[in-house]
Amino acid sequence: MGRKLLLDKAHIEGIRYFDVYRKNGGYAAAEKALKSMSPDQVTEEVKKSGLRGRGGAGFPTGLKWSFLAKPEGVPRYLVCNADESEPGTFKDRYLMEFLPHLLIEGLLISSYALGANTTYIYIRGEYAWIPDILEAAIAEAHKNGFLGKNILGTGFDLEIYVQRGAGAYICGEETALIESLEGKRGNPRIKPPFPAVKGLYQCPTVVNNVETLAAIVPIINIGGDEYVKYGTGKSTGTKLISACGNLNKPGVYEIEMNISVEEFIYSDEYCGGIPNGKRLKACIPGGSSVPIVPANLLLTTAKGEKRMMTYESLNDGGFATGTMMGSGGFIVLDEDQCVVRHTLSLARFYHHESCGQCSPCREGTGWMEKVLKNIEHGKGKMSDIDLLWDIQRKIEGNTICPLGDAAAWPVAAAIRHFRDEFEWHVLNPDEAQRRNFGLAHYADPLPVAAAV
């Protein structure tokens, strides 16, 4: 059994409520931090832990905190990113629904470390029932002296508010989120200035993911040095993986980052394999924005090593033969699935979600959707495949925010690894319509694609 740090108490009945959470060791980390550590010591501990942001980019959290500007007399803000809209990702929802106090305790410690007296949780609007759970937990924490004025007699004040979004993937991008929190359209800002200098209301702001902030609690409890002993290398601690698609047991799993991808998919402790004895075709292991990889490259790296569930191993081979941990949205495709159709669905998603500020993203995502639709519906030409490649290349790196890249990469990777399937759709339009899947790559491991 893998060790757990976040969900170890998730099975306890009533853990959603303050009394049960407290009785099971809850708020001990908050007491420790506020009473026996200085804010800088907390940040130091987080640096030592090697914790990397769980929202997708994997940026070291302690380092990010140390960038926060601290001008005199200007308020600072912590914003919890609970927008969770990356297709395949549903782990933050689990934390908030079942362990709201873990998040609130993490927010309390983090706000203390950053010197923020007002903290907002920005949650996607569709999670409409979760603000009630969070607000009930916030009220309980207030009643028990863990929020409000002069917390635990330390002189530290904190209020936490929940703010709902209203349906826009782009509001997960931190500067779009800040715009949305200010009551505007979710258009990402041009950086610099970075939020650490000018964020919410032009004040220094840290934006962190729900899971990142929850992980602060075990880090303070066991100490950064102990946290490093979980996981491997630069992938310290545990990670929540939300597994979906063609799996026997989809759901949210906490893994220690030292297991192989194969074990995660096939062992009974985790996803329990693929339904109906079907074979694995491909996987998008880190949410829709990361490159899709075929089965052979998923289980073993191009060097022939076992692929592990760590930031480094998933990334091994870069874009040519690797992929990314991303947000931990693990999407599995079995042998019956059509990569063209799946890519079309993602292209439509990004087109729908582009905020429209930059032309390469706004126009490019639309073109990619259109071209893919043609190929999928039997109206494609061979040259369309090169056209697609060309469009995605022109988006990548030419936009204000990374949504453009996020839209380009899935298309690039699909063509790189499954070009013959796109060609098959063009050559066999009628059959592609009837059977709606292309060539299956499970049978013969593909030759490893050269970097293009």
Binding site: P87, G88, Y169, G183, R185, Y201, I331, E353
Partner: protein
């Protein structure tokens, strides 16, 4: 019907505005629009948006800008029950296309339409963060997950029964 929040809802608006620093009441816009949509028939008319602008002391255009950006705000009337079925990749892998097709047939409407009795509207939406419990849809405040044809039948029957009460 003049657009006007109840006393209780006006207090809620005040409470929401108080979450933000002085002069930053515009931050309350999205939460107040949610409240308005729930209170005034499930959509935002021009009158409703103007009313919200007045409450927050901002220009109506600032409200329109926001209302048109976010997909959860309905700018046209919708049925009493809004079926928002997820169609993104992970749900598609688990058969969301079949579910959408089934609902269309069963209700005799296309995506984006409302049934003649004004009860049901069908919309397709992008990933709602329930991919592991697919196929799924949002119905009002909650999610309906692990959808099957039988489950869709049951949901429709329940809505009809509730509407007749």
């Amino acid at each position: 019907m003049a657009v006007q929040f109840s006393e209780e809802k006006l207090n809620k608006v005040k409470e929401i505005i108080a979450r933000y620093p002085d002069g930053k009441q515009k931050s309350a816009l999205i939460p107040v629009l949610h409240l308005a949509q729930e209170s005034f028939g499930g959509w935002l008319s021009a009158d409703t948006m103007d009313y919200v602008a007045g409450l927050l002391r901002i220009e109506p255009i600032e409200v329109y800008e926001v209302a048109t950006f976010y997909s959860m705000f309905n700018l046209q009337p919708v049925g009493k029950y809004l079926f928002e079925v997820c169609q993104t990749g992970p749900c598609m892998l688990r058969g969301s296309d079949d579910i959408i097709h089934y609902i269309k047939e069963k209700l005799g409407i296309k995506v984006g339409e409302t049934t003649a009795d004004g009860l049901f509207t069908l919309k397709t939406v992008e990933c709602l963060g329930a991919c592991g419990y697919a196929p799924m849809m949002q119905l009002g405040k909650f999610y309906k997950e692990h959808l099957t044809k039988e489950k869709v039948d049951q949901i429709i029957a329940e809505c009809r029964a509730q509407a007749n009460n």
